[in-house]
């Protein structure tokens, strides 16, 4: 296999964007192209989950490849639930690593705010098992709520820990121009004040409003290239050193140990092994915190902390910007936003900035190894990536 590098990245704000989906997608592509000096693109991969269901746009990649005047390059749309983004990066990786392409562009794009909240919740709920979950009214927040209750009981995680994740990620997002939420929140404000129940009501108890990510529009782009192309650029060399993907049962109830996220564990191990690193080598990570509990659990499953101790590390501040292993420096899904198909690429975008040393106020000092975890369904399809900065 050949080595694969990220030579350009771009992103739009994750927020409400009143533009056609294809335009939203193309914007981040343009940003990345500009950064990479308009290389020849052999193939365009576009990750998107709701184009058909929400925006009347099928075959998004065909629209984008033309809009960006990249024809006759190949173009493929990839729908893999909330893990679409990293899945598309994995496909781009294969394209370059196999020697088939010299450069490939990966865009993740989503436009969910075109419909109201009910409809977008319903749309995301279509990820669940149609007969064993969906018919009962099961949505992603409800799966997360049931999971959180088990986790609290078993490992002593409390609402306070969850609130700490939210506060940390909101604070990180304050320094991210592209983040959806720029609201500093405090544990006192969302948990302790007499008005906390109004400001922060239950959504799927024990999860509350500030435990859930916002519904966002947005897109992000990463251009991947072979060593030959990458070495001609005068940017730090960021290598996509490891990729991993694993799946788990569709219905959550079928998992042997309901508090385990085995797909995360396996995908992470693959992505790290391929890159030749251990969890302790990672300097900065973007984890899929669609719900605050997930950041804690994933930080354990990928191996940063022992199972059941993620919340203790959080308490000690190890995951904050200045901690041992800063997590979700961009604000995470919680505060940066979660345009489902774009999220995985957005995570990669943040890691590339961090490894290049271009993350501004939220820069992690001397970050050389970065890691992302993109979590599809409720953990039934997970893609992890490892990036390494080469000197």
């Amino acid at each position: 296999m050949r080595e694969v590098y990220a030579i350009g990245v771009g992103i739009t704000s994750f927020t409400r964007l009143e533009y056609p989906l294809s335009e939203i997608a193309a914007y981040s592509g343009m940003m990345a192209m500009k950064e990479a000096g308009f290389p020849n693109i052999a193939h365009l991969y576009v990750a998107n989950m709701g184009g058909c269901a929400l925006n009347h746009q099928a075959g998004l990649a065909s629209a984008v490849v033309d809009s960006m005047s990249l024809t006759p390059a190949g173009a493929t749309t990839i729908e893999n639930g909330p893990a679409s983004g990293a899945s598309a990066i994995l496909q781009g990786f294969l394209g370059i690593a196999s020697g088939m392409y010299e450069t490939a562009m990966v865009i993740g794009a989503e436009r969910m705010r075109e419909v109201d909240n009910l409809e977008s919740t319903e749309f995301v709920a279509s990820l669940t098992h149609p007969l064993a979950e969906y018919i009962y009214g099961v949505t992603l927040p409800s799966l997360a709520g049931m999971f959180t209750r088990l986790y609290m009981e078993k490992y002593g995680v409390t609402s306070r820990h969850l609130a700490m994740v939210a506060v940390k990620n909101h604070a990180n997002a304050m320094d991210n121009f592209f983040a959806h939420l720029h609201e500093p929140i405090t544990v006192a404000g969302i948990l302790d004040s007499p008005e906390a129940m109004t400001n922060n009501p239950y959504v799927a108890d024990p999860l509350r409003f500030y435990d859930c990510c916002p519904v966002s529009d947005g897109s992000a782009c990463v251009i991947l290239a072979s060593a030959e192309v990458a070495k001609k650029m005068n940017k730090p060399l960021i290598r996509l050193a490891g990729v991993g993907q694993a799946t788990d049962t569709h219905a959550v109830q079928e998992r042997e140990e309901p508090t385990d996220l085995l797909a995360v564990r396996r995908a992470a191990a693959q992505a790290m092994q391929m890159a030749g690193i251990k969890p302790g080598d990672v300097h900065v990570a973007e984890l899929h915190d669609a719900f605050t509990i997930l950041e804690i659990v994933e930080s354990e499953e990928v191996g940063f902390f022992k199972k059941g101790e993620g919340h203790l590390a959080l308490e000690r501040g190890e995951t904050s910007l200045t901690g041992k292993i800063p997590i979700n420096t961009s604000g995470g899904l919680k505060a940066k936003g979660h345009p489902v198909g774009a999220t995985g690429v957005g995570q990669a975008h943040e890691i590339v900035l961090q490894l290049r040393g271009e993350a501004g106020k939220r820069q992690v000092k001397n970050a050389r190894v970065g890691f992302t975890c993109n979590f599809g369904g409720f953990g039934n399809n997970v893609v992890c990536l490892t990036f390494i900065r080469e000197e």
Binding site: I135, Y136, G137, T139, G145, M146, A204, A251, V252, P258
Partner: protein
């Protein structure tokens, strides 16, 4: 006629599955659909639950309680919970009822009550 949820028992190795799958997850090699249909028990233990306040559009109630129950034979199912103050580990009994109306389609599923 009493309604049931059905489990699928592998004809080769006897592994019971719910929900339905094409290939046995244990022996992984029965020619597909080689399952016996077995009615699942309805009573069990509530493993976890949530009160959901943001509901899909089909539900015209303010809140819906959902839970995962481990049935007497060890099979776990997700269902609606019709219990005022549920707690983890409590014994529950299930009934098959209409759980969701989608346009003209009525979906039946399991609803759990206090024993």
């Amino acid at each position: 006629m009493e309604m049931n949820l059905y489990g699928y028992k592998c004809k080769k190795c006897g592994q019971l599955h719910y929900p339905y799958r094409m290939v046995c997850k244990k022996c992984k090699r029965n020619a597909h659909n080689e399952f016996d249909l077995v009615p699942l028990p309805k009573n069990g233990k509530l493993l976890t639950f949530t009160h959901l306040y943001t509901l899909p559009a089909d539900f015209e109630v303010a809140k819906l309680t959902l839970g995962i129950v481990e049935l007497e034979n060890g099979i776990r199912v997700t269902g609606q919970v019709s219990i005022q103050n549920p707690h983890m580990g409590m014994q529950v009994k299930g009934k098959i009822e209409a759980v969701r109306q989608e346009g003209y389609d009525t979906n039946y599923g399991i609803v759990f009550y206090e024993v």
